[in-house]
């Protein structure tokens, strides 16, 4: 059994790599989108506020799996009417990650910015700072400290959530595990689902556990640094 697992490890690690790549890339893009969307949510301009609210509510209100199926199976049919494009499994997966995560990241940004006392904004205003200067120099640097633990939590959810990618045959960790099991049955007549699924569970745990530790570490540091 050990031999079988060692033999298939590189293939499984390849799946883990895809899981990590798509989550990490998705997270980075989601934060880049989430910051402005979260700030728009707090804007005084009604159309900015409502458009960000619509964006957030749509992508938070739709199950991950539905947007994935939609992006992979439905969207290409629509796009086909206008252009000749294809949507790969990776693209559909990444896009789903970005949409769901950015909507949630925007809410984290909004909450963190709201937690900064209004006196900070007033001080910036009184000193003649513009909106962009206040956000960049005063509000965001303080809000980031508050955002880090929930953002790590969100990333953990995303990382585990990508497991659903198996449904469109995106080669993340689960899909690669399934392929391994099928291959072993077909080629060697070996049933290995118990071993492989247990291994996958352990692998997921070791990907997520450091993240939860990191989040706890930042939370502790944050509460210490508070005056």
């Amino acid at each position: 059994m050990v031999e079988m697992l060692v033999e298939n490890m590189p293939f499984l690690l390849g799946g883990a790599k895809n899981t990590i790549i798509v989550s990490l890339l998705g997270m980075i893009i989601a934060v880049i989108i989430g910051v402005p969307v979260g700030l728009m949510r707090l804007s005084k301009t009604p159309w900015l506020r409502s458009s960000s609210l619509i964006y957030i509510e749509i992508w938070r209100g739709i199950p991950f799996i539905i947007s994935l199926l939609f992006l992979y199976f439905v969207l290409p049919e629509i796009l086909k009417l206008f252009w000749k494009v294809e949507i790969s499994q990776f693209t559909a997966m990444l896009l789903t990650c970005v949409l769901w995560t950015s909507a949630n990241a925007a809410e984290i940004v909004r909450g963190a910015v709201q937690a900064i006392p209004f006196g900070q904004t007033e001080a910036g205003l009184a000193l003649g700072m513009t909106y962009v200067q206040r956000i960049r120099l005063i509000v965001l640097p303080q809000a980031v400290r508050i955002m880090i633990p929930p953002m790590i939590g969100l990333f953990t959810l995303l990382l585990k959530g990508t497991a659903i990618g198996f449904i469109i045959e995106f080669r993340e960790l689960i899909r690669v595990g399934q392929i391994t099991i099928e291959r072993l049955i077909m080629v060697r007549r070996e049933t290995a689902s118990i071993e492989i699924y247990t291994l996958l569970m352990i692998m997921y745990f070791f990907m997520c556990y450091p993240l939860t530790r990191l989040s706890t570490y930042f939370e502790k540091r944050l509460s210490k640094g508070r005056n």
Partner: protein, 243 residues
Amino acid sequence: MNAMIHFIDVHKSFGSKQVLAGINLEIKEREVVVILGPSGSGKSTMLRCVNRLVEIDQGDVIIDGMSLRDPKTNIIKIREEVGMVFQQFNLFPHKTVLENVVMAPIYVRKMKRSEATDVAETLLKKVGIWDQALKFPAQLSGGQQQRVAITRALAMRPKVMLFDEVTSALDPEMIGEVLDVMKQLARESMTMMVVTHEMGFAREVADRVLFIDGGVIVEEGMPADIFSNPREQRTREFLSKVL
């Protein structure tokens, strides 16, 4: 002398509550005006109108020739000339004392960092905090923090300073050190609007004292006259409670 700040029939309501009900006031250059009044009388709102932290509903305020209501006025220009110090200090907790002081000169006044640091050094030495310049606000006492906040406003080289109950959040033993800085500033001929409950300060430093209640100026005059000889019943009642 020119009016540095000119309130013309200023009205302001929050919802259905009228806070300022027609303020008319001229503050001359180099004048120190202390504003007294019961809580909720509109003192803070009046200060906040000057740099448009509060937007007025009616009337106008002219600051050094710039009209608040004139759409051509750039509010940033007004704020560059009007320094403000708050009750709760509102220092930037993620920045050192020095960074708190040089930030606006660098980003708003577009000073070079070296030049802004020179300004900060001179001012921080004057208020006795230069040796703490690399500490964070949370490492300082309340009195020290408020002196930094005054320095931060002064580093912009404003023409007017607004003080909004700047000693109210301080422990009693720290009030003196902050008032001393303000007295020094008054001696150096800064134009100042001061909302305070420190009657000793008002008596000693003010050129003029205003008593505000219900959003209007009830009485104004030289501190000696207001304190020893108030004309209005409401002023008498208020002073008898606080003195």
